[in-house]
């Protein structure tokens, strides 16, 4: 055991290993340098704060997605949960329900939708991809029914200071959603890396059979993890609704892609069992800088999609390479 460090040092250089450890960080820095050189206004503090606020929505969803992907699963319904829980919250605020309560109920519904995903996957033995694709469609449809296809908005929302503050406010010069992101990042980090729940999450993704024999309650874990993903999506949904001062029926469309991209760019293996919460935070920042930078550079949204798709593809290919090595 004495020569452990030596072994580490002499290990053959492997790109997969390297990317896993430092790659996301390096990619983020390179991207920031590139964008700042191309457009100086990127480094404007106002722009940076704005960027962080934009990132917070995707980051929150991605934290939940990290748990899901670590188990070897995937959650495609997060974007639809953003929309439906946001619509609930908006409707409650309009109905005069106290702001805090409206927000909490919205988040709770998100958690419930997540739990339903979990039950279908755990007890129905359904493939997560198909199960959440189905619930995505159902929840999106329900959002259209609930909103009758129109944005939910009104003066009761736009004049409600507390509700507005949640997504638009500033505290000590920093957007409030950034605090929410930071708090949930710390919670997610501790949960994943410092608790037995986190250890069991990794075990479940690494080898579900061995985990079960070692006493992990696989079904319970899966339900809890999808519940977390649903809950965090609803928190993101509340921020989004507050920022827009309205609940859009197509809010959160394709957000699952950005969240999955953040997780994969952060070095988490799609096969499950391997990844870090910090990587996912970095991954979300990469996506954020990419979006923000392309806007600043005036790249049309059509091209933006292509670029983002390519970036995700590269990340997935890196993941594959890692799996083989």
């Amino acid at each position: 055991m004495s020569n452990q460090t030596e072994v580490e040092a002499k290990k053959k250089f492997s790109f997969g290993d390297f990317y896993k450890k430092l790659g996301p960080m390096v990619a983020l820095i390179v991207l920031i340098v590139l964008v700042s050189v191309l457009n100086f206004s990127f480094l404007d503090p106002l722009n940076l704060l704005n960027l962080l606020r934009q990132v917070s929505v995707n980051a929150l969803i991605a934290f939940g997605m990290e748990f899901v992907i670590l188990t070897g699963g995937i959650d495609l319904s997060v974007g639809a949960i953003v929309a439906l829980s946001g619509a609930f919250t908006a409707q409650l605020v309009l109905a005069g329900v106290p702001t805090i309560l409206s927000l909490l109920i919205g988040m709770l519904t998100g958690a419930i939708f997540g739990a339903i995903n979990g039950v279908i996957i755990a007890y129905g033995k359904a493939a997560p991809f198909i199960a959440t694709l189905a619930t995505q469609t159902i929840l999106r449809g329900a959002t259209y029914v609930f909103t009758k296809g129109n944005p939910i908005t009104g003066t009761k929302m736009s004049n409600n200071f507390g509700f507005q503050f949640f997504g638009q406010g500033y505290l000590f010069g920093i957007p409030f959603p950034v605090y929410i992101m930071a708090i949930f990042y710390i919670c997610a980090f501790i949960l994943l890396h410092r608790t037995t729940f986190g250890r069991k999450t990794y075990a479940l993704g690494g080898n579900p059979k061995a985990a079960f024999v070692a006493g992990v309650k696989n079904n319970k874990m899966i339900i809890l993890i999808y519940t977390i993903a649903g809950f965090l999506s609803a928190v993101a949904g509340a921020i989004l609704t507050s920022r827009l001062a309205s609940a859009q029926p197509d809010a959160g469309n394709a957000y699952e892609m950005d969240a999955i991209a953040a997780v994969v760019l952060g070095g988490t293996s799609l096969a499950g069992g391997k990844g870090r919460m910090f990587g996912t935070l970095i991954g979300a920042l990469i996506i954020g800088v990419l979006n923000n930078g392309m806007n600043l550079l005036g790249i049309s949204s059509f091209y933006q999609q292509i670029v983002k798709g390519i970036v995700i593809l590269v990340a997935v290919l890196l993941d594959r390479k890692q799996a083989k090595a």
């Binding site: 055991m1 020569n3 452990q4 030596e6 072994v7 002499k10 290990k11 053959k12 501790i190 410092r194 608790t195 037995t196 729940f197 250890r199 069991k200 990794y202 075990a203 690494g206 080898n207 059979k209 061995a210 985990a211 079960f212 024999v213 070692a214 006493g215 992990v216 309650k217 069992g273 391997k274």
Partner: protein
């Protein structure tokens, strides 16, 4: 065909596994390769078949320097490799597994199932074996899967066949069938490389034997000119005492008592184990021993029967229930159910005990680390440290890691399914010593084993299972090879 591997060296990082190893095999002989766990036997064979690149050294095939880029190329040159760790696709039918990547086709690229079946059956016939070709291979027992693996090599007309611990999962009966085939192949001029940790097999089947230690070839003998003591001495570098330490059991109260256990794999099974006792379970492959244990531990369902642990009747719905009542279970198949291969040793070892190292879910990292290090040391696991990936360890050392996990969980009733599978002589002895220590501290141990020597050599009582029925539980003192075999094949001793 003759193969000479000369001056082979190989390192993984700074871990110099092979320094200078020489090994040769020629047609018409069985050449055994011996060495402790982690000595580098499997690594040698991986190098020979192109799965690993040596750092230096040459491989001569019939005197000509040769290099295989991959396993398929080696196979085309007539070298078949039956791996220690099976690489099956569990969901795939037996037949598809047997012909993976070498499917036989008729016109239009369609797969010719009928022809494949005929060929496969011919190979299985040699091993006197019947299986349902359409069954998912993962549903077969480990032993059956191993036999299929052997059948696969018989289908290629290999000139050299490498068997890396082929008998680890087989029962006496299958081993004999395998030996018949090995002798037949040898007489047909095939060369066999045979790796095993079972000494008695070596003297039964091998013509020559090469012993490796510390990355070097220690000696090559004609089997007729050597003996067990010599080989063991060369392997471990010193003389070793008896294989089996003596048992001085002090029995306490009954720790586990089951009665009337029934499901579709076994019927009306009743037995009990006392504190301080080692109860061995013997029987032929597929008799249902493993299935009984799985049901007690809550992995499989029970249709009827009661389980009492420490005098209390329990309903065990899942392994978590069993573990929380201090029952531990080392499964027979370490790869699918024992280990998370790409997780670290630490994460593997502390999984069943992790709740004990936490307050409100938060893990006490320091205590956890100390715990893992203590177990790695206690079981003498050959590794760089707790952060190694479990999959990078040699087979025998992986087995020790699974053992560490259950020893660490502090079980009062410990069910060990083939605990010494694939473990070298020295380490086997360590495991028996450990079991002695555990029973001295009052643990009740159930040891399922297909190794009759081990069953007779290291237990207090022997339960024999035949086709899902518990035939009898006898005192080890009164048991003999014959009396156990009689029971295991459905007969009665008067």
């Amino acid at each position: 065909m003759q193969i000479d591997m000369q001056h082979i060296s190989k390192s993984f990082g700074s871990n110099e596994v092979l320094k200078d190893v020489n090994f040769s095999v020629k047609g018409g002989e069985v050449h055994a390769l011996m060495g402790e766990n982690g000595a580098g036997k499997s690594t040698m064979m991986n190098i020979l078949t192109g799965l690993l690149e040596p750092n230096s050294g040459t491989i001569l095939v019939d005197g000509k320097e040769t290099h295989f880029d991959n396993a398929l190329e080696a196979e085309h040159h007539g070298i078949a490799f039956i791996h220690q760790e099976m690489n099956n696709f569990g969901e795939m039918p037996v037949l598809d597994n047997m012909f993976l990547n070498k499917e036989i086709k008729k016109g239009f690229g369609l797969i010719d199932n009928a022809k494949m079946k005929t060929i496969a059956q011919k190979a299985l016939d040699q091993l006197d074996m019947k299986v349902d070709f359409s069954q998912p291979i993962g549903e077969l027992s480990v032993g059956q899967q191993q036999m299929i693996e052997i059948a696969k090599s018989l289908m290629t007309d290999a000139k050299i066949i490498i068997m890396d611990e082929p008998t680890a999962a087989l029962t006496q009966d299958e081993i004999q069938k395998l030996f018949v085939v090995i002798r037949k192949l040898r007489d047909q001029g095939v060369g066999l490389i045979y790796i095993s940790h079972r000494m008695e097999e070596l003297f039964e089947i091998a013509d020559r034997v090469t012993v490796m230690r510390d990355g070097l070839t220690i000696n090559t003998y004609n089997t007729a000119d050597t003996n067990v003591k010599q080989i063991v001495h060369d392997m471990v570098g010193r003389d070793m005492g008896d294989f089996y330490p003596e048992r001085h059991p002090k029995f306490g109260k009954t720790m586990l008592e089951v009665s009337g256990l029934t499901n579709d794999k076994f019927k009306d099974v009743s037995f009990s184990v006392r504190s301080g006792e080692v109860l061995a379970f013997s029987g032929l492959m597929g008799a249902g021993r493993t299935e009984i244990m799985r049901a007690i531990f809550g992995i499989d369902k029970l249709d009827a029967g009661t389980i009492k642990v420490d005098g209390k009747e329990l309903t065990i719905k899942n392994p978590n229930d069993a573990i929380s009542h201090n029952v531990g279970f080392l499964t027979e198949d370490r790869k699918t159910e024992g280990l998370i291969l790409d997780a670290t040793l630490a994460d593997n070892i502390d999984l069943p005990s992790i709740d004990g190292f936490s307050k409100h879910g938060l893990i006490d990292e320091k205590a956890d680390k100390d715990f893992v290090d203590m177990l790695l040391k206690r079981l003498n696991v050959k590794a760089n440290g707790r952060d190694d990936e479990a999959g990078s360890l040699s087979g025998g050392n992986q087995q020790k890691v699974v053992l560490a996990k259950w020893v660490g969980s502090g079980s009062q009733v410990l069910i060990l399914d083939e605990p010494t599978r694939g473990v070298d002589v020295g380490a086997k002895r360590e495991i028996y010593d450990l079991m002695n220590e555990l029973t001295d501290r009052g643990t009740a141990i159930i040891m399922v084993s297909s190794d009759l020597d081990e069953v007779l050599g290291f237990s207090d009582k022997i339960a024999v299972v035949y086709e899902g029925h518990l035939m009898d539980v006898v005192d080890t003192k009164d048991a003999t090879q014959e009396s156990i075999m009689t029971l295991a094949t459905g007969g009665k001793n008067e």
